[in-house]
């Protein structure tokens, strides 16, 4: 499309990527801070004041899921998921493109499937209306899964077709959109 070469549109699209990445980073930092403060605070409360809130334990376990899914989303963004990367690193040119298409495309499909079945799980839980902790229903805590796997599916699909310029060497971990 013609717009794709328009520098204005390109800069705008990059701006959106940048904003999305910063939002991911900010949310992750908040989740980690919450995890550290609640987990640590719970111990201080229990040891120092012999008191505590009885739903912190399930809350913490949900936070672990959310931290894990956000971390996995970022790992997909920075191409840092664990795998055997010796062979793709040795290739160049067309073989590299084909191998990347296969491996990353496969990951995109699997993530898509996991996102789909996660939606199914959320809907099942939504019907049964169980409570995870305090007033929060279980299905809300599960939303991290369709979100995380969905975003990862998109990331892998983009990398499969080579949208990111530094897709194969994205080990620098910097904001590509900046």
């Amino acid at each position: 499309m013609a717009e794709a070469n328009d520098p204005e549109v390109g800069a705008h699209a990059r701006g959106i990527w940048y904003a999305l990445h910063r939002a991911e980073d900010a949310l992750l930092t908040l989740l980690v801070a919450a995890l550290v403060l609640i987990a640590g605070g719970q111990i201080v409360l229990r040891a120092g004041f012999n008191s505590g809130v009885d739903w912190t334990e399930p809350l913490l376990r949900c936070l672990v899921l959310w931290v894990a899914m956000f971390g996995a989303m970022l790992a997909a963004r920075e191409d840092k998921h664990l795998g055997v990367d010796a062979i793709p690193r040795m290739l160049s040119g067309l073989p590299r493109i084909v191998v990347r298409l296969l491996a990353q495309g496969f990951a995109a499909v699997v993530c898509g499937l996991l996102a789909w079945y996660s939606v199914g799980l959320v809907m099942l839980e939504h019907e049964s209306q169980t409570i995870a902790f305090a007033q929060v229903p279980t299905w809300v805590t599960q939303l991290a899964m369709p979100l995380g796997f969905g975003v990862m599916a998109i990331r892998f699909a983009l990398r499969a077709v080579g949208v990111r310029r530094n897709a194969a060497s994205g080990t620098t971990g910097t904001a590509e959109g900046a």
Binding site: D25, L28, L35, R61, C62, L65, V84, A86, A103, F106
Partner: protein, 426 residues
């Protein structure tokens, strides 16, 4: 058909497909073949929230990354140097001990080589240790400490083994206690070798100075309570592992960010991101493996494998030898955490049919993994060292040879002498 799928997945693995996607694919295919509704795969993944001890993983990881970014590694080296630097080969012993302590807190993720290597490498070279020895020592030390509490591999092994409902069960506490003596054995043997190869250089080193020891201890006053309280608390049974992790994370955050202020607050998102990328990568593999483990048990895959293996291997001795080679290869290929999550559900049930205790198996497994980290040609730490110290990989490999055989000896002792792992447990 099954072989075709297996071949396709193997090719995808070597094409660089992420482990978690491969595991999820096997789980989905297996569950589908057994006529399950595939929503069960998502439900099994969600069981991540049913394992309380998993809280320890993000907490220890963030604490480790914060420590690694702070000046704690320098202070740790200064303190151990003040205490042990006067010995012949003292600085090498300092390197071993500080790396072991640091790895116990950060997991063997290469952080040790990057954070401590930066301090130790120039110090060792300056003290006239040969480059080759220094390179081998640091690369080996990068995974030393894996067997000491509160290292993440010990926790993850216990979590994975618990999914298999073994008798006797495997607790995190038991793994912590079981790793102590084997870990000390590795540390002592490596220290003896280092002292032996450092003989003759001893006189160039400093004498013990009480003043410097006190100054170094004062310098590290915020870090010293950490191993004492956490490691002491765990081995003394005051803390559950997740509680120890919570205390560590909160304490490190406060001391590094508020008291010492060695990491500016604007850098915190970056550190969180680096740490949680690792946590996410590990936990997603674990979640997918939860879906797979149930299928493996349902279909009794380990049982069928055992039948096949038993036709060829009848003695436990031969089985253990074959196992070492097998695990060394896959440990090198799968780089630590994925190896634990992928291999334990398949191999542990088989090993138990040969009469191996699950706790002993865990220590043996992790000791082999530790070796795998610097086993050529693919051991991860070889590449980290090569990159970090700007040396050809082949030079690093050669430098590691004597250390490799020492750790291999330890692996053999650990494997064929279960008492060493089990005496503090049972």
């Amino acid at each position: 058909m099954i072989w075709l799928i297996a071949l396709a997945l193997l090719l995808l693995a070597f094409a660089g497909a992420p482990f978690f996607a491969l595991i999820a694919a096997v789980a989905l295919l297996g569950l589908n073949a057994s006529d399950y509704d595939l929503i069960i795969a998502a439900a099994e993944f969600f069981r991540i929230t049913d394992v309380p001890v998993l809280i320890a993983i993000p907490l220890f990881t963030i604490a480790g990354y914060l420590l690694g970014e702070s000046k704690a590694p320098q202070r740790l080296v200064r303190l151990t140097d003040a205490l042990f630097g006067w010995m012949p080969g003292g600085l090498a012993v300092v390197a071993l001990m500080s790396c072991a302590l640091f790895t116990a807190f950060t997991g063997a993720t290469g952080v040790t080589i990057v954070a401590l290597g930066a301090v130790l490498f120039p110090a060792l070279i300056q003290a006239r240790y040969p480059t080759k020895f220094t390179l081998g020592l640091i690369t080996t030390s990068g995974s030393l400490g894996l067997l000491f509490a509160p290292s993440l591999p010990l926790i993850i092994y216990a979590v994975v083994a618990q999914q298999l409902n073994t008798t006797p069960p495997v607790g995190v506490d038991e793994m912590f206690r079981a790793g102590l003596l084997p870990g000390l054995m590795m540390l002592v043997l490596l220290a003896i070798y280092s002292v032996w190869s450092g003989r003759g250089r001893a006189r160039a080193r400093v004498k013990f100075s009480g003043r410097e020891a006190l100054a170094a201890a004062w310098d590290a006053r915020w870090e010293i309570p950490l191993p004492v309280v956490v490691v002491g608390g765990i081995y003394g049974g005051w803390f559950a592992p997740s509680e120890a992790a919570a205390v560590t994370a909160l304490y490190v955050s406060i001391t590094v960010l508020a008291i010492r202020r060695e990491i500016s607050l604007s850098k915190v998102p970056q550190v969180c991101r680096d740490a949680m990328v690792l946590v996410g990568a590990i936990l997603v593999i674990l979640g997918c493996a939860l879906a797979l483990t149930n299928y493996l048990i349902d279909a009794d895959i380990p049982g069928q494998l055992f039948e096949v293996i038993r036709e060829h291997i009848s003695s436990r001795f031969v089985f253990l030898l074959v196992l070492i080679v097998f695990l060394l290869f896959f440990g090198m290929l799968l780089e630590g955490y994925p190896a634990i999550i992928i291999l334990v559900p398949i191999v542990l049930p088989i090993a138990m049919r040969y009469g191996v205790d699950p706790v002993h198996f865990g220590i043996m497994f992790l000791a082999i993994l530790q070796l795998g980290f610097f086993t050529p040609p693919l051991g991860m730490n070889l590449f980290i060292s090569s990159y970090r110290f700007n040396r050809p990989v082949l030079e690093v490999v050669r430098a590691c040879v004597p250390f490799f055989f020492i750790v291999l000896f330890c692996v053999l002792v650990i494997t064929f002498w279960p008492w060493l792992s089990l005496v503090l447990v049972r």
